[in-house]
């Protein structure tokens, strides 16, 4: 007696179709799973056996062989529990074949027979929509299917449901709403107008920004408030970001509600943690920050190799992890916000404290970031401690985040259907910028005087384009170039 159930296994953000074939024959009782499953797949035997019995169904006292096809593909995770149980029950005629026909199943079983969600439900829903099958799984499958749309859902929250025979496919409706949690507001930060302007530009154009300043000057405070002025994700971005989050097993609802991710890993993060990896390769922080912000506080304290590993995804917007059993590609289009001290003691250039570092110490410290990474950072800004009088004064009105966010949204609306500025280069960038003659010659002079690389010129022009968007100007003028170059020229040291 044989039966086949469709399911899928995750590879990167894709769910690849897998057939679960069950063969129940007479012979010495045994239960075997073949087809390159990992330890979690092997452990499914115990969960399936207990769950089936707990639901009042019969686990066959016979020779049970499960094959996961295509056999050469490595399979991992606990999502095979439900499909395996379904295949056995169908093969022993305990459930009608109509339950499993035309569907792809996914779900983890508990010993009491309840069905649990697994990471990557969204990817499974996508796979179902691509192959035109219904998604069979726990109620979490419902919300995932609702996001993808045009996928019917058969909900099985407990194995006992299967005893009723038919399961009605439903078109899911489910609205994603997250409670608005209090976000820190830029109005709480007194002064720092230059830095706030830089944050506004970074939010509007997705430009990388480095904040340099002595301890306690407000770098972290400023950076953490960037989340409040970021524009909402558009529909495409919402999907790709939520997909990565879903696969990584973190809550994808904020992304689905349009909130851009803001990731702030600690500086002890490993290279694999930052860019992704492991078996199977999981997305790293750069991918979890896709379409959002990756905030690296104390940038110079990160491992040098870890920092340098970000160079390629910063340029390409994706990361390819190549391992012995193949290649996985994760999206990684993030905005890097870094914060660091100007020197090891932290007080170089501070008005009150005296810096105790020697020149070689300062040089070594800044060399940890390195020229190539620095070249990819569009804006650098000095953040200094402000006068205590300014912090304590009550009458000074600081602009709230909502107002800045409004300007950012208008800038993006002004840019309209143009591809995102951060992806433009060469002729397409020039066409988008339409620089006036004076602006062109200013940039040329700047590039010569400061010795800008080709990439630096491109990136300066992109920042200038964003500034022009904020000014609602069609063409980039001299002032925009000057402001953009001002952010790049400042020495980190």
């Amino acid at each position: 007696m044989q039966a086949t159930v469709m399911t899928a296994t995750l590879r990167g953000v894709d769910a690849l179709p897998v057939e679960v074939q069950a063969d129940v024959t007479s012979g010495l009782p045994m239960f075997g799973i073949v087809g390159l499953g990992d330890a979690a797949v092997q452990e499914a035997k115990e969960r399936v056996r207990s769950a089936v019995r707990a639901a009042g169904l019969e686990f066959p006292n016979a020779r049970v062989i499960i094959n996961l096809a295509p056999a050469p593909l490595r399979k991992h995770g606990t999502g095979f529990d439900l499909p395996i149980a379904l295949a056995i029950l169908a093969a022993t005629r305990q459930i009608p074949s109509s339950v499993i026909e035309g569907s792809t199943a996914v779900g983890e079983l508990a010993l009491d027979g309840s069905v649990r969600a697994v990471p990557g439900m969204l990817a499974h829903a996508y796979a179902a929509s691509r192959s035109g099958l219904d998604l069979l799984g726990p109620s979490a499958a419902m919300s995932a299917a609702a996001v993808v749309g045009c996928v019917r859902c058969r909900v099985v929250d407990h194995v006992t449901t299967l005893r009723q025979g038919e399961i009605d496919p439903r078109y899911p409706c489910c609205d994603v709403s997250v409670e608005p949690h209090g976000r820190p507001d830029l109005a709480d930060v007194a002064g720092h107008h230059a830095a706030k302007r830089a944050l506004e530009i970074a939010a509007a154009g997705g430009h990388n920004l480095l904040l340099v300043g002595p301890p306690g000057s407000g770098k972290t405070m400023l950076a953490r408030r960037l989340g409040g002025i970021l524009p909402p994700l558009n529909d495409d971005e919402r999907m790709t970001t939520a997909l990565v989050h879903s696969v990584a097993g973190i809550d994808e609802r904020p992304a689905l509600a349009g909130i851009r991710p803001f990731r702030a890993p600690h500086h002890s993060t490993s290279t694999v943690g930052l860019i992704g990896g492991g078996t199977p390769p999981r997305p790293g922080e750069v991918s979890l920050a896709h379409n959002g912000v990756l905030f690296l506080d104390e940038l110079a304290e990160f491992g040098p190799a870890t920092l340098q590993a970000m160079r390629q995804p910063m340029e390409d917007g994706t990361i390819s992890l190549v391992r012995a059993d193949g290649r996985v590609r994760y999206p990684a289009a993030f905005t890097l916000i870094g914060a660091m001290n100007p020197c090891p003691c932290g007080y170089l250039g501070d008005a009150e404290h005296r810096c105790t570092c020697s020149q070689p110490m300062i040089d070594r410290y800044t060399a940890r970031i390195g020229g190539p990474l620095l070249d990819r950072i569009d804006m650098r800004i000095r953040v200094d401690r402000i006068d205590p009088g300014k912090i304590l004064r009550e009458d000074c009105e600081e602009e709230p985040s909502a107002e800045i966010a409004q300007r950012v949204i208008s800038a993006i609306a002004f840019a309209g259907s143009r591809p995102p500025t951060r992806t433009l280069s060469g002729a397409r960038l020039l066409e988008a910028c339409r620089p006036q003659r004076a602006a062109r010659s200013t940039l040329e002079t700047l590039a010569r005087t400061v010795g800008m690389s080709g990439r630096a010129v491109t990136r300066t022009l992109r920042v200038a384009r964003t500034i022009a968007d904020l000014d609602a100007q069609d063409s980039v003028c001299c002032d925009h170039i000057l402001e953009a170059a001002g952010y790049r020229m400042s020495d980190v040291r």
């Binding site: 720092h192 107008h193 002079t445 001002g486």
Partner: protein, 292 residues
């Protein structure tokens, strides 16, 4: 290329500089390159390593003027004000001597290696520690007493507090030499030491004629030099340049003082920087390139 001649002179040698011998703790032996005859009466021009554009400009302006009027400039060959003083003396074709804290044949700091090579060839580089001695912290404060000892007067252009520069001034006062100081902004930590010296009674130097008077009073120049007091320089008109003239500032502070928004200040600063009127300091403050 001809090998540069090294020499060693001991305390009772005829060539041993008389001024240095008169001090309380003269070195037993001097190791050097170049012309030992240059170790005569000199003007020391010293200042901070981490100098601001203001300090660098003052060092090169006064060292250049004194050197062009025949005064030998002594300094420590360090980066910052010292290098600016040596370079200014070279540009005005005067004489200059570097006193090192490491061996006279050691290139330290590395940024000064070209300068030191030139000085060994056609001026003088001297040290009290033997050939090849690597730089050691204690040697530099000892070296400062030689700089003071070789000079009739010491001009301090920019000194923090505490600092090695301040120590040299102490040595000079102990040896009975004149100490002159260029005043700086009262807000600048880089100028605390030099301003303190003035408060303690050192003569302030704010223009060439004051420097000339001070040099004449210790026996230099014999009244022959003409001073350009710098009054011919064009007045500054840009409000940003005027605001930055006395004290380097950050864009935020500048915007606050001039009551302008940060965006237009930022753009104007980059424009002025591009024109060469401003320099951005390492700490993010802006300073006028020629504070005159």
């Amino acid at each position: 290329m001809k090998a540069i001649e090294k020499w060693e002179i001991v305390l009772n040698d005829d060539l041993y500089p008389e001024l240095l011998r008169q001090t309380s703790d003269p070195p037993e032996r001097l190791y050097g390159f170049g012309d030992p005859g240059l170790l005569g009466p000199a003007l020391a021009v010293i200042g901070a390593r981490k100098a601001t554009p203001y300090g660098l400009t003052c060092a090169s302006r006064f060292a250049g003027w004194a050197a062009s009027n025949g005064v030998t400039i002594v300094s420590g060959g360090a980066i910052g004000c010292d290098m600016a003083a040596h370079n200014a003396a070279l540009i005005s074709e005067g004489e200059t001597v570097a006193v090192l804290g490491c061996g006279a044949d050691v290139d330290y700091p590395q940024q000064a290696s070209t300068l030191l090579a030139g000085l060994r060839r056609s001026h003088a580089v001297v040290s009290e520690v033997p050939w090849g001695t690597p730089p050691q912290r204690w040697a530099f404060s000892r070296r400062n007493r030689i700089i003071a000892g070789l000079s009739l007067a010491v001009l301090v252009v920019e000194a923090g507090l505490p600092s090695g520069t301040f120590g040299t001034a102490d040595h000079a006062l102990a040896a009975g030499r004149d100490v002159l100081a260029v005043p700086g902004s009262i807000f600048a930590p880089e100028c605390k030491g030099s301003n303190r010296l003035i408060a303690q009674g050192c003569s302030p130097v704010t223009c060439e004629s004051e420097l000339r008077d001070a040099l004449i009073s210790v026996g230099f120049l014999l009244g022959s030099a003409t001073a350009d007091d710098g009054s011919s320089s064009a007045p500054l008109s840009d409000p940003i340049l005027i605001a930055l003239r006395s004290n380097p500032m950050r864009p935020d502070d500048l915007a606050f003082h001039l009551r302008q928004d940060i965006v237009s200040i930022g753009r104007a600063l980059t424009r002025l920087e591009l024109q060469g009127a401003l320099v951005r300091m390492r700490d993010g403050r802006y300073s006028v390139r020629k504070p005159e």
